[in-house]
Every structure is written in structure tokens, then in C-alpha cells.
Symmetry: none
């Protein structure tokens, strides 16, 4: 079944708020095996809304609308739905009761325009709103459906889970299964080249590659008559892909690299410490964003100045003078000093030139040394990302550090 998601609200067109409703609904619909063909956003304008719904329905079987069900004058989604689907608004006693009940419960006065929310198209299947006052509904005509839900994400998601999802499951054909693989250390072009035969000959499962800042994603999806078949088809393709690019895959479940590394550290019961110069605490900040990481993350140092490198980590003045703060030697002394001071199982150090200033012919902006120590294993990796911004270099270095930890613990 082909669907489209339509968001109503001028605030979206102003860029004041991010459209999370569309992301939520798209995920849910795809996971149910319903194809999402389009996203639309239109302001609080009945004429344009009507045109957009008509236009969408030429191409899809169902349109899911969020917003414009509220009590105010510019909330006109219901009127438009009636206009397009040939119906009229009538007072829905049950909805009216729920609304009165809601105001009683929340101890607020029910204003005149709130009663307007109990008006529902006469032929509609009503979806009650447990988190607010505006009910939603589904309306059908000639095998085409419109499903209207309130705009506030809390109300919409709740209504979807409780009422809309079951309604859709009755209509859905087949089952869609998909996995999103995350890869680091391989570019999108190279990834596609490695998988080109699979991509060219794809029918089901389907494969799609996406570039994400500093990393790559590969989506593998299958639509079959049963959940089991779909899941198996996806898993079989994951196995084939893993044989070709497995070393780069850090997650088959769309996890962030930092979450994967954090989980590995916690599962293995390893303590962790970081000593950062050019990343200035990014590694520590990223890892400590994980709930419960205090079991593993013990201490972090942002040794930005040479003094701090010497004072906190015992980097020798001679090393800094002879090789400079950005050098393999300094990275090594940093990570060794960090292990000495903290006694943590896994230690990493980062020193580099994030720019835009500070680069030289011999040591350009983007040059980064990453030190790693875990037991007897201790090494320094050199990375160079040229022509990149300070932010990019720092974030890319963060991923580089995390990937080194992932590959070596």
C-alpha cells in the first residue's frame, strides 16, 4: 500500500520546529511494510491543503495528516478532509464526552472553541486522544484513505500506537523487515563498488548506501508474506555483505559508534581514561553521554597546553621540544602517562592540529596522532584529513579514536 505523510503548520515552513512527526510516522509505516512515497508540509491554508491532498491521492492509497485539528480558527484539517472525501462534520457525542472529561480531569475551564473539536466527519472511524483534546480519525472513499492526527508529537505518537497502528495493520499486506548497517573507514563510492553486483541485481532484499558525516550506512530491506521470511532474507544478505566489508561494519542495528564502544567497555568490564589535546574533551563528552558509563569511564584529561601535558601526564619537556606537541612521541608519552596516573585498563590519547591556524609545511592542519594502550598493546596511529574544517577534523578524530578502541579491545 502506497502512503504519504502530510504535515500541516505554518511554524514548520518558518523552520521554527523540526518535523519529528514525519520521521516517526515514516519509520513506523515502513516497518509495517507500508511504502512512504512522499512527505509534504503545507501551512494553515485550507485551499493549499485541499490541493495537496487531492494531488497526493492521485499517486498514493493513503495519506496520513498531522496538525490542524486544534480548537483555533486556523485549524481546518477536518473541514478540508470532508471537502475532499465528500462528508460533513457532525458532533461526535463520545468525543464530546471525552473532551469534557479531559477538562474536568485537568481542572481547566472548557472554552467554546474546544467543543469544536468534537466535530468529526460523519463516516469517520474516530481515534480518541488520551494525551490531549483533539480526536483523530480515518476517512475512506473509493479505496483511498485519509488519516488525521493531532500535531503535538506527544498526542500524535500516543494516538498512533494505541489506535492508528491497529487500524493500519488490518489494511497492510505482507511484512517488511530491514536493518541499517553502519560502517566506518570506507567511503560510499568504494562501498558501492564492493557491492555493485548485489546493488545492480537487487529485487528483494533491496540494498541502499548512504553517506553520513565521516561514515557510511547500508540499508538492507525485504518485504515478504511472513515476518520470519523477511527477517531471514535480510539476515542472509547481511552475511553476504559482511564477507565483503565486515571489518568496517560496527553496527547492524543503526547504533552510534560511541554507543557500540561504550557497550563493549561495559560488557568487558574494562575501565577507560582519555587524554585529549586537539579534540579537547570530545571523546570524554561523547562517552559520558551514555547512561551507566561511570562503571567504565574513570577520568579524562584535556591537556591543551604543554604545561598540562607535562604536569598531568608526565610528558617530558625534551620530547615536546624535540618532536613538538603534535608528534608520535608525544602521543605515546601521553597515553603511557595516562595509564600510569589512572591505572585504567584502556587508555587513549589524542594530539593534533585542528586548525584553522597552527599548520606548517611539515605538520599541516588535519594531522592527528592517536595513542592507544590496553595491557601490553600500545601503539600510535597517524591520521591526516586535509582541507577539512576544525569541526570536521575534531569530529572525524573522535570517530577515529572510537574505531581504534572498537577494533582493539
Amino acid at each position: 500500500m502506497k502512503t504519504a505523510v502530510l504535515s500541516v503548520g505554518t511554524e514548520l515552513l518558518f523552520g521554527q520546529i523540526t518535523n519529528t512527526n514525519t520521521v516517526f510516522l515514516s519509520k513506523e509505516l515502513n516497518n509495517m511494510g507500508l511504502d512512504v512515497m512522499y512527505h509534504y508540509t503545507v501551512g494553515d491554508n485550507p485551499g493549499r491543503l485541499a490541493d495537496m491532498i487531492r494531488m497526493a491521492l492521485e499517486d498514493v492509497d493513503m495519506i496520513l495528516v498531522t496538525g490542524g485539528l486544534g480548537p483555533t480558527q486556523d485549524d481546518l484539517t477536518k473541514e478540508v478532509a470532508c471537502q475532499v472525501f465528500g462528508d460533513e462534520l457532525v458532533v461526535n457525542e463520545k468525543a464530546l464526552g471525552k473532551i469534557k472529561e479531559y477538562f474536568l480531569r485537568t481542572g481547566r475551564n472548557m472554552t467554546e472553541n474546544n467543543a469544536k473539536q468534537a466535530l468529526i466527519p460523519s463516516r469517520a472511524t474516530v481515534f480518541h486522544n488520551d494525551a490531549g483534546t483533539a480526536p483523530g480519525f480515518a476517512l475512506e472513499k473509493d479505496g483511498k484513505y485519509i488519516i488525521c492526527m493531532p500535531g503535538p508529537p506527544r498526542e500524535m505518537t500516543r494516538m498512533f500506537e494505541i489506535s492508528v497502528k491497529p487500524f493500519l495493520e488490518k489494511l497492510s499486506d505482507g511484512y517488511m523487515s530491514y536493518k541499517l548497517l553502519r560502517l566506518y573507514g570506507i567511503g560510499e563510492s568504494l562501498l558501492e563498488t564492493r557491492l555493485i553486483d548485489l546493488i545492480d541485481n537487487q529485487t528483494d532484499p533491496t540494498l541502499a548506501t548512504y553517506a553520513k558525516e565521516g561514515e557510511c550506512q547500508l540499508r538492507i530491506a525485504s518485504k515478504r508474506s511472513s515476518r520470519e521470511e523477511a527477517d531471514k532474507a535480510v539476515q542472509d544478505m547481511i552475511d553476504i555483505v559482511s564477507e565483503r566489508v565486515g571489518e568496517y561494519i560496527y553496527s547492524c542495528d543503526n547504533e552510534e559508534l560511541v554507543d557500540v564502544v561504550g557497550r563493549m567497555l561495559l560488557e568487558k568490564g574494562l575501565t577507560f581514561a582519555s587524554a585529549e589535546s586537539c579534540t579537547g574533551g570530545l571523546v570524554a563528552a561523547a562517552l559520558t553521554d551514555i547512561p551507566g558509563i561511570s562503571q567504565s569511564f574513570m577520568a579524562g584529561f584535556v591537556t591543551y597546553s604543554n604545561e598540562a601535558k607535562m604536569r598531568e601526564l608526565g610528558v617530558s619537556e625534551e620530547t615536546l621540544r624535540e618532536h613538538g606537541a603534535v608528534s608520535e612521541e608525544t602521543a605515546r608519552e601521553m597515553v603511557e602517562g595516562l595509564a600510569r596516573v589512572t591505572g585504567c585498563d584502556v587508555c587513549i590519547s589524542v594530539t593534533g592540529i585542528a586548525g584553522p591556524g597552527g599548520g606548517t609545511e611539515e605538520k599541516p592542519v588535519g594531522l592527528v596522532y592517536i595513542g592507544f594502550k590496553y595491557g601490553d598493546k600500545c601503539f600510535v596511529t597517524k591520521k591526516l584529513s586535509t582541507g577539512a574544517s576544525r569541526k570536521w577534523i575534531r569530529n572525524h578524530t573522535l570517530l577515529g579514536v572510537l574505531d581504534i578502541v572498537r577494533r582493539n579491545i
Copy 2:
């Protein structure tokens, strides 16, 4: 001028990624006085993309497209643009040179499909891509415009700022001047109340308030025949607003709070150090994102464990035992120890409960103590944000720390 924003990418229809490009472009276009009428999203399907562009152009003068310019087979935006605007793709030597240069610079091999990115519609105005390989372009026909930009936000925003914005400014009628004021420590509703008479009676300049995580924005815009008039009208309104809520305004130029604080530290020639527990390096990471900050930022400590607090900052075991790691006493000993160890002019400490676990009746999740020391001035501020997520608490604490520095140096 009426515009529409069109996003190309099946991953958006899958709900895999949030459409931040559309939010960014909508804000920018509105700020320039261009009306955004519609948002559209379509998958990597040339037929549907062409239909959607044609349909949009019946109603708007300009459509801004992001995505589908990459090197892979499903990147077809350029072909479609040519089809709709009656043009053909030709090799753009300058673009090809830039792409070759990019691969040379990054030391990666240029694959065949990368050369495809140098194909540009023959009549197009080319926008070069400083952050990636795919160039963007503008194409005009019968007074209607299409502007195509790459999908990755980093590349798109950079291209918009450097090339597209100036291109649009030439087309815009009259001159739009606007300032985005940033405020911290006042809620949107209170801000609106303080300015309600100005907002109700607005014609030109216009005022609009926006809530942003933990802070507020106030947009003041004026459209006049000359740049000077518009600029003056905006500045006069800023003066009026400043008289009412000046203490909360940290920027009149849409700067981030961290950039304002970083500049203040550098201008005053003050050295800075941080000791963080619950924020885990967020403060250090945010400040060290600023180019040249190494003149001020000397050292940061992420003392996550009690051992680290004692070892690195000399917090007494007794204090930790009697008052706990999250206490005014610990925050004070952290910041005093930090000043002792680093000898920096300005020192801050943070200790709190970011959750979701670790909260108690007496010390709930969201409780945070911020220590500040600058010369003789040394104090601890208690903050409590209830019912918030770990991420929100950490980010909100970061803003709180920065605002304390801003107000006290």
C-alpha cells in the same frame, strides 16, 4: 518571492534521518524575506522527482532542492533538473578540476563515478563544494528557478552560506535586514510578556520569539528600500528591546553562547580551566571548538570517579563521604583545587546527577552544582532541572556554566 524546499532521498522517506536541511533552509529563506510555501520530500526516483518539481513550479517562483547530486547511480537530481528546465549536462572543467584536486588533497583514489559529479547543466550557475565533491547549481527558465545543493548538511550549509545566499540576495526585491538576538535565562512566554505591546503593534520591524533548548531567540526584521534604512530600523528596535531584557541577551548576531564566552576570555586575555563530573567534558569540548582558544583554554579535567576528584583536584575524602560527590562542598573543593593545580585566571567546576539512574529523594536527577572562581570571586550555584533527559540536563548545564562565566568576567 514564493519558494519551496524539496528534499531528495529515500532514506528520508524511511525515517532514518531527520530532515535538518529543510529546517535550516526554511529559517534562512524566511530571514531573507523569501516566503516558504511548501516542503516536499521524494525518494531517489526521477519520474516522481520531475513530477514534483513541475507541480511545485506551478505555484512558486523558486524551488530549492537538496540531495541526489552524489556519485552513485541513484543520484539523478541533475538529470531531472535538465529535463524540467530544458537543458543538458556537460562536463564542467572547473568542477572536474576541483573534484580531482579534492581527491589529490585527501589522498584518496578517485573512482569512475566521482567524475560524474563534474557534469553540470550547460546554462547553470555553478556553486562549488568546499566541503565535498558534488557541486551545486542554479538553473533558470521563464523567471522560474531551481537551486540544487548536495544532501549532506555539512556540504549544503557551507554551500548555502558561501554561494547560494549571495545569489538569492541579488534576486530579492528591496532589502531585508534582520538580527537574531539570543537570550539565556528567560523563558519564551515571559519574554513575550515583556515585549507584548511591541509584538502586538508590529508592522515593520517585525518581532518573532522562538524557544530553543534551554534558551530563547528573538528575531527582529525590517524590509526597506535601502540597506541603511532597514539596518537602522532593526538597530532602533534592538535598543528598545535591550532596555527591557538586556541582561538576558548574550548575542545580537545569532552567536552561540560558547562563542561569546570564548571571545570574552580571549579579548580579556584570561586563562581558563574546567573540572567536570556530570558534563563529562562538554564544557571543555565546546570551548576548544573555538579556533585560537588555546591562548586561553589551558586544561580540563573530567573527574568522573571519586578517585579522580581526590587525585587530580585534591577534593578531600571526608567531604566526599560526608556531603557526597554531588554537593556544594565538593563543587567548591573541585574549583579551588583546579585553580591551585592549574593557576588559571578563571576556573569552573561541575558536579551533578545527569540520570537516568543515581537520583534520590534528597538528591534527584537534574540536581547540579556549578563552582566558579575568578580572583577573589569564588561561589557555587545550585541548579535543578526536573523531569529532563540526560542529554538535556547535560546540555542545559553547559549553557548554565557558560552564562555564569559570561556574567562574571
